[in-house]
């Protein structure tokens, strides 16, 4: 099962905030978390908030220690995610076209004589 790593930066917390202090990680490296599960508690000049996990997957790396100040946009956490290779999901409409191994045909060609 191929694994893909996805890194998330400290998201824009709104109201022009440029950085936040990590108060307490709610996860540890190696944990497998669900999407939206509590990820990290951070404090800005305005308030303290808990950031939900943007991704389901295994925590591969935490890029900031507790009490460390992280600028918005800097790497925060890296997930190791199984590259989804179960049957590809159709989009909002239509069907995923089947990939035929050997396309069928009835017409035979005759190479040019010249």
């Amino acid at each position: 099962m191929a694994e893909e790593s996805i890194t998330f930066t400290l998201p824009d917390l709104g109201e022009g905030l440029v950085e936040a202090t990590v108060l307490e990680w709610q996860v540890a490296v190696g944990d497998v978390v669900a999407r939206n599960a509590p990820l990290v508690e951070v404090e800005t000049t305005k308030s303290a908030v808990v950031i939900p996990s943007p991704q389901a997957g295994r925590i591969a790396e935490l890029h900031a220690a507790e009490d460390q100040v992280v600028p918005v946009g800097d790497p925060l956490v890296t997930f190791a995610v199984e590259a989804a290779d179960e049957a590809p999901r159709a989009g909002i409409v239509g069907r995923v076209p089947p990939e035929e191994a050997r396309p069928a045909r009835r017409v035979r060609l005759k190479p040019p004589t010249a």
Binding site: G94, E99, V107, L109
Partner: protein, 342 residues
């Protein structure tokens, strides 16, 4: 048969990043991630591109990573989406709007043709339009009405617009970087039937200039000219033709405006025969443009007229009839045979 695409993927800077297995959805997603990270002016917006991550998941995760000020949903109004893109560009941004489906572009044609395409011209260069319109296009997934249209002829016919259609994940990554970094407006037509096509991909920076085509399979007896999902179909045809001792060249046109006349002429003058394949209806399709260019540039080398294998001149049909409307392998083979016997 190892497709030439694999070798093309290797490319001159083979020493680049190791290949990673990606679908076209993921390749476009990666390109958008690269663009959003490298240029703070890039904005990605359209219907359902944010929380949902796009109806084909192509913008999945971008809003979470880059925030909802640079990746955002708009209300459901295609004309306003493109009109807003014009205004954003005039305020220094590099807009990458998505119109959710080809058939939904029609309400925005006025903004695209009358504003986006000619703004640089009518302001004598003062207000360039570095806009890339991402448009999931073409058919092949049995989608409902208005979700399988091919509009390349309409866009190619519009002065001031450049038009490109990638045929595989590696191409999608490289050509999207090239399109968004270009300061000219580009319509980036993503072949939705190939979204799920997964293959080892080397993510490469653009090297060919805009307007360059690509030979994906060398051959000697005839040239198949195609773009988007039809490139894969023509490779299948070439594989079957080889069993009959016929050696077909497959040319991926890539840029539908400007068309690579030199590349086209070089291939057809060598093989002497050309078959153009596209999903759009026959009459006034881009195939007519390719046929005219071949006739004007390779007349003496041609051993027969250019053949066109296309959709019929009927409205795009519902599900079960789609397979009989789109170019089939047999129809392409018959066209090839006509050029061989001419």
């Amino acid at each position: 048969m190892t497709e030439l695409i694999e070798r093309a993927g290797a490319g001159p800077d083979a020493a680049g990043a190791p290949p990673v297995e990606l679908s076209m959805q993921q390749a476009v997603n990666r390109a958008l991630r690269t663009l959003l990270a490298e240029d703070p002016d890039v904005l990605v917006f359209g219907e359902d591109v944010g929380a949902l991550g796009g109806v084909f998941r192509v913008t999945d995760g971008l809003q979470r990573e880059f925030g909802d000020k640079r990746v955002f949903d708009t209300p459901l109004a295609e004309s306003a989406i493109m009109g807003m893109a014009v205004g954003l560009a005039m305020n220094g941004w590099r807009p990458v709007p998505e119109l959710q489906f080809d058939g939904f572009a029609y309400p925005a044609i006025d903004q695209i043709v009358n504003q986006v395409a000619r703004m640089n011209y009518r302001t004598r260069g003062s207000a360039p339009m570095p806009i890339t319109l991402r448009l999931p296009s073409f058919g092949g997934i049995q989608a409902p009405e208005h979700h399988g249209e091919s509009l390349e002829a309409l866009f190619a016919h519009t002065p001031g617009l450049k038009v490109v259609a990638p045929s595989d994940p590696a191409e999608a990554y490289t050509l999207l970087l090239q399109s968004v970094r270009s300061d000219d407006p580009v319509v980036f037509m993503e072949p939705k039937a190939r979204y799920w096509d997964r293959r080892p991909v080397r993510l490469r920076e653009p090297s060919d200039p805009i307007g360059t085509s690509r030979v994906v399979r060398e051959g000697s007896h005839a040239t198949l000219v195609a773009w988007g999902a039809m490139v894969h179909k023509c490779l299948q045809v070439a594989e079957l033709a080889a069993e009959d001792g016929v050696d077909l060249e497959v040319l991926d046109l890539r840029w539908l405006k400007p068309v690579d006349t030199a590349g086209l002429a070089a291939s057809v003058s060598r093989t002497g025969r050309a078959v153009v394949v596209h999903e759009a209806p026959l009459t006034a399709g881009l195939g007519a443009e390719v046929a005219a260019l071949v006739t004007e540039n390779c007349f003496r080398d041609l051993s027969g007229p250019v053949q066109r294998v296309t959709g019929f001149d009927v409205p795009y049909p519902a599900g079960p009839l789609e397979g009989q409307y789109l170019p089939t392998i047999d129809r392409i083979l018959l066209a090839v045979q006509r050029t061989l016997e001419y």
